[in-house]
């Protein structure tokens, strides 16, 4: 029990509620899309599988393919080669140089090959600046749409990151004040009265879910704010103070693997030997390769792996590109271990939940779903308490619209992806349009249906139907069938389909039940038992 003066508790309770209500709707969007984005890799494997599974990101043949493709690009793009796994086990090799974009900001420009590592045949070739290459990238479109919405709410740079950073801060303030105003934190963890009193049941569910979720909410809010603010506010400010505003110099100091310049021609050492060395040293599968100064005597090869079972902070293995000898195992930032590098390194697994493979990601999704539930029920309880006032009644309608309309719009977006996959329009753009059209339709429904419980049931029912139809749409537009996927060892296809069907049935089942109506006057205080409430 935390003892605070009553006036402080009242102030904290007001901050808790208002930080949630003012930014809660946008925060709900960020949380929902973040929950889905945890499984970005699996979603992409489901949406755009190859006809066969590829067990390793970089199988035998990667060395020859790198050299062969290097002959097909302008030598200026040999400055750096980035290689990484993408949707369905495809392998992307991006030959690029660091340049100044037309808007004056630093960027990367080059050619990206998308290949099938089973045959080493190019599936697609893309050219241009990073953004232009991303626009041309179709296979990973479904997850890219979700991630873009999660990271920047589709608001142009740098404002999108700033807005999501502020939302993370609001979540952190709501969590901190939530802890401080708890009168009986331990009791609240276990108090769940599921009797006939609908009000008590709703409040208890919100408080129990919120109480258990507090540590996770703090972690997500802190790490999310860090990721949003680091590039939009932090790095520019630090670069201004320490490097006269030169962000490229700051990034070079933090991440550089470069060696003393030597432009003499020299062949690259065997990449596959370096990959084998990394597998032996780190007991983990490589997932990213970067070759700097390909074909030169000062070439370096940097290799990252998935997190080994006993590590929470990733390392980069840096090799001499001409001899293939290991130069050093490098922390996430700088060249030797430091507290700053460890803190930044641990942000990744804590935010993405990928430190123990599928198991930890599943836990993160469950906790994220609980966070979305707490956010939505908090707003519903807050607005319901005040619904005798017209403004709050309208707000309650908006909360219902966003709370139940957002999942519907998110589920409908991939329909546009599947339907227009072969068109020239960027995958994110077609999903943006579908998302906005469905959001507008849901707004019309929210305006037309007066009874809020009926509105909830209609939107949930529509979401259920669209979830059930998504696997059908995927297969109807040329997607891999279950039997073919299963025999090829591509588990993501049937597993995601089954998950969609299960969630669809859950939505329809939930939409069947009419919620017990609780008179506003009887609702009393919403979220948590506090000194202020009891006063």
């Amino acid at each position: 029990m935390i003892k605070l003066p009553q006036s402080d508790t009242k102030a904290l309770l007001a901050i808790h509620g208002w930080s949630g209500v003012l930014l809660g709707l946008l925060l709900y969007v960020v949380i929902c899309t973040g929950v889905a984005a945890v499984f970005a890799e699996e979603i992409n494997d489901w949406a755009s599988p190859l006809p066969h599974a590829n067990a390793h990101a970089f199988p035998a043949g990667i060395d020859a393919a790198t050299r062969r493709l290097a002959t097909q690009v302008d030598p200026q793009f040999h400055e750096e080669i980035a290689m990484f796994r993408s949707a369905g086990g495809r392998l992307n090799l991006r030959y690029h140089l660091h340049d100044t974009m037309p808007n004056g900001k630093p960027g990367e420009r080059g050619v990206e090959f998308e290949v099938d590592p089973a045959t080493w045949q190019p599936l697609a070739t893309r050219k241009g600046w990073d953004d232009e290459i991303a626009d041309q990238t179709k296979p990973s479109g479904v997850a890219a749409f979700l991630i873009n919405l999660h990271v920047r709410l589709h608001i142009p740079e740098p404002w999108g990151l700033f807005v999501t950073g502020v939302l993370g801060l609001a979540m952190m303030i709501a969590a901190v004040t939530g802890i401080l105003v708890h009168r009986h934190l331990l009791a609240d963890l276990f108090t769940l009265r599921l009797g006939r009193d609908a009000l008590l049941k709703r409040r208890d569910l919100h408080v129990v879910a919120g109480s258990w979720n507090l540590p996770f909410a703090l972690i997500l809010a802190f790490t999310g704010s860090f990721f949003s603010f680091a590039s939009s506010v932090g790095l520019p400010a630090i670069a201004m103070v320490t490097f006269g505003g030169d962000q490229a110099a700051l990034i070079d100091t933090l991440y550089s693997t470069a060696r003393p310049e030597n432009k003499a021609p020299a062949p690259l050492a065997n990449i596959e030997a370096m990959l084998a060395d990394v597998r032996h040293r780190n007991h983990a599968e490589p997932n990213y390769i970067s070759v700097s100064h390909y074909g030169r005597a000062d070439a370096t090869v940097s290799i990252n792996t998935v997190l080994p079972g006993d590590e929470l902070v990733y390392s980069t293995f840096v090799y001499d590109g001409t001899t293939g000898a290991l130069i050093r195992e490098q922390p996430p930032l700088g060249k030797v271990p430091s507290m700053g590098a460890s803190l930044v390194g641990i942000m990744y697994p804590l935010h993405f939940g990928n430190f123990a493979g599928l198991a930890s990601k599943t836990v993160w999704v469950a906790l994220g779903t609980a966070a979305a539930y707490v956010s939505l029920t908090g707003m519903l309880l807050w607005t319901r308490r005040r619904e005798e006032q017209l403004a709050w009644r309208r707000m309650s309608r908006v909360v219902h619209y966003v709370g139940y309309g957002l999942p519907l719009a998110l589920v409908c977006a991939p329909y546009a992806f599947f339907a227009l996959r072969s068109s020239d329009v960027p995958a994110i753009t077609v999903q943006d349009i579908a998302f906005l059209v469905v959001s507008a339709a849901a707004a019309v429904i929210a305006f037309a249906i007066q009874d809020l419980d009926r509105l909830r049931r209609v939107l949930l029912g529509c979401t259920g139907v669209m979830l059930l139809g998504l696997p059908v749409m995927r297969i109807a537009t040329g997607g891999l069938g279950w039997a073919d996927a299963w025999s090829a060892g591509i588990g993501a296809v049937p597993v995601v389909d089954i998950a969609l069907l299960a969630f669809g049935f859950i939505c329809l089942w939930t939409a069947r039940a009419r919620q017990a109506r609780v008179p506003a006057a009887a609702e009393g205080p919403a979220a948590i038992s506090t000194e202020a409430h009891s006063a």
Partner: protein, 95 residues
Amino acid sequence: MNAAPPHRLRPWLRGVLVGPVSLIVASLVMAGGAVWLPEGDAKVNNLVLPVVLFPLLWTATFLYTCLDKKLARAYAVMGALSAVNAALIAWHLMT
């Protein structure tokens, strides 16, 4: 003579303090951290730690400016933090 601001101005002054002022002060402390934090062996701690701690800094300045009942004192604390860090940054840029 009463130096407190008129009653109707207080919510506005509090709002400015909690909103833009707390953000500016947190940003200045973060930027100043690049000057006064130790570099460490890797020479990155002073560049990285302020950025990592920025969400906590902002949360702290936000909650403090919300909860301090004495508005003048809250402005004074925020002003002092800003002045110290701005001076450190200016000194660093000039030397």
